[in-house]
């Protein structure tokens, strides 16, 4: 089974990560891999929000944005 590589920016940690995932992985697989509770984030690709069941593509650039209030 092939693999895809995605770049991820996690805004709450100000951290970039590169991950290798199985082909046909979806957003919730990515969040699981990063141990992030989907209730606490929204996810975007480019300038568009994407759903948890959205399939990821090779070389995707994903932003994981925290929904937690800052204070």
């Amino acid at each position: 089974m092939g693999k895809i590589k995605v770049s991820v920016f996690i805004d709450r940690e100000s951290r970039n990560a590169k991950l290798e995932l199985a082909n046909d992985s979806i957003v919730s697989d990515l969040l699981k891999e990063l141990k992030i509770n989907p209730v606490t984030v929204i996810v975007s690709r480019g300038n568009e929000l994407i759903l948890e069941d959205e399939t990821l593509n090779d070389k995707d650039e994903i932003r994981i944005l925290s929904v937690i209030s800052g204070g």
């Binding site: 709450r12 606490t40 568009e48 759903l51 948890e52 944005l65 209030s69 800052g70």
Partner: protein
Amino acid sequence: MNCLNCCSEKPVIALYSGEKLCKAHFTGYFEAKVFKTISQFGLIEKEESLGVALSGGKDSLTVLHILNKLSKQNPKIKINAIAIDEGIHGYRDKTLEKARDFCNKNNINLHVFSYKEEFGLALDEMLKILDVKPCSICGVFRRYLLNKKSKELKLTKLATGHNLDDECQSILMNQMKNNVQLSARLGPKVGLAQDDKFVQRIKPLYLCTEKEVTAYAFINGLLDDFNECPNVPQSFRAHVRDMLNSLEQKFPGTKYSAINSFLQTLPLLKQQFNADAIKVCAKCSEPSANDICSACVYLERLKNEVPQKYPKKAKLFGNLKI
């Protein structure tokens, strides 16, 4: 899959009900929910001089954005934004910049009041002097200033960006700390009874989850880089928030259920705890549950502890405005 609301656009958010909506339909859904909350709980009258407590974060920008839309449709509803600069280095300065920028672009009057000017010390300085929980002292001074300045500005109501998650956390925190009398003051309309000493606080985002608010803010260009108050991670609220989010993941709808149960018991709570008359602080004449209000109690402690702990900084003592 396309947006379930009949259009052919791609969905961007899945609601708790399972419904998936595109940008335009989600925006419509969200705004309709806020307007329904306003009407259901009688939050805003036909004629108001509304204040919006603005931090520059996504919640307060969202509430200001929507109420500004409402004001354009109803010119008898006037909008003023109030921001409090607590003096939290590296945090509030950034969010205030966003607040100023938004108000400039949208022609909204913004009034900024700082702890430093109003009390003589910034929060960062207060926390070096007193060994207290940052969110407690900060909350007391912020609520004090928001109410006092709202009255001075002759505002009829003050809207805040509190959302469903914030409310759920407060309910649980009060329960766990045996502070149920504080829960009686919660709800979409804050407080136990209307009183001239208080400007009525309202929560138009009461039934919107934090995730919905963030998605709305993202779609409408109101979401900035993540910026968390450095004092938040120490708070009890942060633990309760994480616990609730973990429950919500395992049992979707938990937060809605908690709020709906609370709304059913809220009238009883308000009735139960309504007996205590609101007093006036003997020092500052602002409303208080006790003879001296919490803000004056903290200021008095600061006044007493500065010379003892920081004799070389005793000049700060002279600046304290009690």
